[in-house]
């Protein structure tokens, strides 16, 4: 149900490096799963809205947002975060050139 070409396209979209052999294997597995999922075609959802928060009725919607104000974290947490980056220079995280 999904071609090898589409499998490779999807892997590329998802930024996943896969070998040619893996593309063939994933194609088989994804096809088998997607074939099974085709059965949702028979569901009548003409009168339904989608659910995104399953307990939405219980949410206090007036208390969800906060002020768009940065709150200073602790210095040592900031340093720990920088330390976790694989590539850094001073307090900057290094990223490959985009342009």
């Amino acid at each position: 149900m999904i071609s090898k070409q589409d499998t490779e396209k999807v892997a590329k979209l998802a930024r996943l490096g896969i070998s040619d052999k893996e593309a063939g294997e994933f194609q088989k597995e994804l096809s088998s799963v997607l074939n099974y999922f085709k059965m949702i075609d028979s569901a009548d959802v003409s009168k339904s809205e989608p659910t995104f928060h399953s307990a939405e009725d219980f949410l206090n919607k007036s208390d969800i947002l906060r002020e768009d104000r940065a709150e200073a974290g602790s210095e040592n947490v900031s340093q720990k975060i920088i330390d976790l980056s694989p590539d850094k220079k001073g307090r900057y995280l290094k990223v490959k050139a985009i342009l």
Binding site: L34, V45, N60, A97
Partner: protein
């Protein structure tokens, strides 16, 4: 009785009466881990030093009489929940060396009661799986039969509780990941209502489905841990102001049994145990009412389309830039992304990311993700209608008891079908409890008790009617 065999009440009583100290209890569990973990492989990291110092703090509180019910009780935490000061790996190579920078809200709450955190337990990588065989490090074994899986994805937590390597544990449940391993290992496991427990500090898999919950030796223990961790958190805007609701009805309890669940595919021995449990309730005066959940057949496709779509978005952050495994630096930016994710993610994680990416892509979004979201509403409404006629719903937790290691790993779809009774509860956002109801030989089998929104108290009380404390 060894200290590691005690439940929460036993520890609380012993500490209060000065029969032993919190340090004694912690040491008993740590020694137990040293002797058992190489067989069962429940733990990814053990925090021996900090556990002892937390136990010493607990002893101080007991001395100055500020101790609470959970003070000094040793707990294990699933390794997708952040505990500062140690690694949080999600059992993935991509986070193998990731140091948690903050505590999850639930961990903060447990620490404020001076619980003792023994370590982090193994899981299916990024909580994707039903056997813990997808862990990027090693599989966990079922303590009841070491050739079998403990279930998943919270297999490490369930095995640790079942084997007395902790008094209780935290797990997470997206499609059954607390309830199914609880059933397979013979312990109590609760998936709370969606929004009951803060997800701040839980590494996200599927944000509209994930919930953190307790695994424990007894129903009372699971209840005690649940009340400690539930509640509105400003840092999780999907969390709800929690009020324990739902008491047992004054007249006879009405138990709903879904007719769609007792069909071909359900193991005959599992069916016998579940029907046996239902008869016990009937003999105790409950009314057993057959209900219908007509959209049950769409559960697995709807669940897997929604969770993989959300996962494909949630796992995009693992890019080799901010933290975690980083490869491909000899190339350009795309190489960093492709090579880091190729090396860091396991097979099942890649499979699910691709499924989700496909389901959300242009041309497929309406037919897959959006349609699944609408089917979710149908499933939610099935339960709503059922709860007009019944107080709770009983069902099996899984179609089989614990299967053998390696038995289902070659067919992803076979593994997905394990979630058939648990995933609908996540889709609807209801609370579900798994309580040990019997055994097939050495293999435990759990009964699932499903309640209406935020009626955790009711389902605990219902469970206690037959299964005691």
């Amino acid at each position: 009785m060894d200290l590691f065999e005690l439940d929460i009440k036993g520890i609380y009583k012993g500490l209060k009466e000065k029969q032993f100290s919190a340090v004694d209890v912690a040491k008993s569990y740590l020694d137990r881990i040293k002797s058992e973990n190489k067989k069962v492989s429940a733990y990814v990291s053990v925090f021996e030093e900090s556990a002892i110092s937390q136990a010493k703090e607990a002893d101080k509180r007991i001395k100055d009489k500020s101790a609470l019910m959970l003070t000094g009780v040793p707990i294990a935490i699933k390794d997708n929940i952040l505990v500062e000061g140690g690694k949080t790996t999600c059992s993935s190579r991509i986070l193998e060396h990731y140091d948690a920078v903050y505590d999850a809200t639930v961990v903060k709450k447990l620490k404020s009661e001076s619980m003792v955190i023994l370590g982090k337990t193994n899981l299916d990588e990024f909580a994707m799986g039903a056997s813990t065989e997808n862990s990027g490090f090693f599989p966990t074994k079922n303590p009841n039969d070491l050739k079998r899986v403990p279930g998943g994805s919270s297999g490490g937590s369930a095995a640790a509780v079942a084997d007395n390597m902790c008094c209780c544990a935290l797990g997470s449940d997206t499609g059954g990941s607390i309830r199914q391993p609880a059933s397979f290992c013979g312990v109590v496991g609760l998936k709370p209502s969606y929004g009951a427990v803060s997800r701040y500090g839980l590494v996200a898999f599927a944000s509209s489905l994930d919930q953190i919950g307790p695994l424990a030796k007894t129903i009372d223990d699971a209840e005690a841990v649940f009340y400690s961790i539930c509640g509105r958190d400003k840092k999780d805007s999907t969390s709800v102001e929690y009020k324990a609701s739902g008491s047992l009805p004054a007249k006879s309890l009405r138990i709903g049994v879904p007719k769609e669940y007792f069909v071909k595919g359900l193991d005959k021995e599992v069916e016998k145990i579940i029907k046996g449990a239902i008869s016990k309730y009937e003999s105790a005066g409950a009314k057993i009412i057959e209900i219908s959940l007509p959209n049950s057949k769409y559960v697995i496709p709807a669940y897997y389309l929604i969770c993989t779509s959300e996962a494909s978005s949630n796992l995009a952050r693992y890019d080799g830039i901010k933290y975690g495994l980083s490869k491909g630096k000899e190339g350009d930016l795309m190489d960093v992304y492709f090579k880091s994710r190729e090396a860091g993610f396991g097979r099942e994680v890649k499979r699910r990311i691709m499924l989700g990416t496909y389901a959300l892509s242009a041309g497929y979004y309406d037919a897959f993700y959006l349609k699944a979201g609408k089917i979710r509403t149908l499933i939610k409404d099935d339960f709503k209608k059922a709860f007009e006629k019944v107080d709770v719903i009983f069902s099996p937790v899984a179609p089989t008891p614990a299967f053998n290691l390696g038995e289902k790993t070659s067919d992803p779809l076979a593994m997905y079908l394990e979630d058939i009774f648990t995933a609908p509860v996540n889709l609807a956002g209801l609370p579900g409890l798994s309580v040990p109801a019997g055994k097939i030989g050495d293999l435990p089998v759990g009964l699932q008790i499903i309640g209406d929104y935020f009626e955790e108290k009711k389902i605990f009380d219902v469970a206690k009617i037959i299964f005691g404390k």
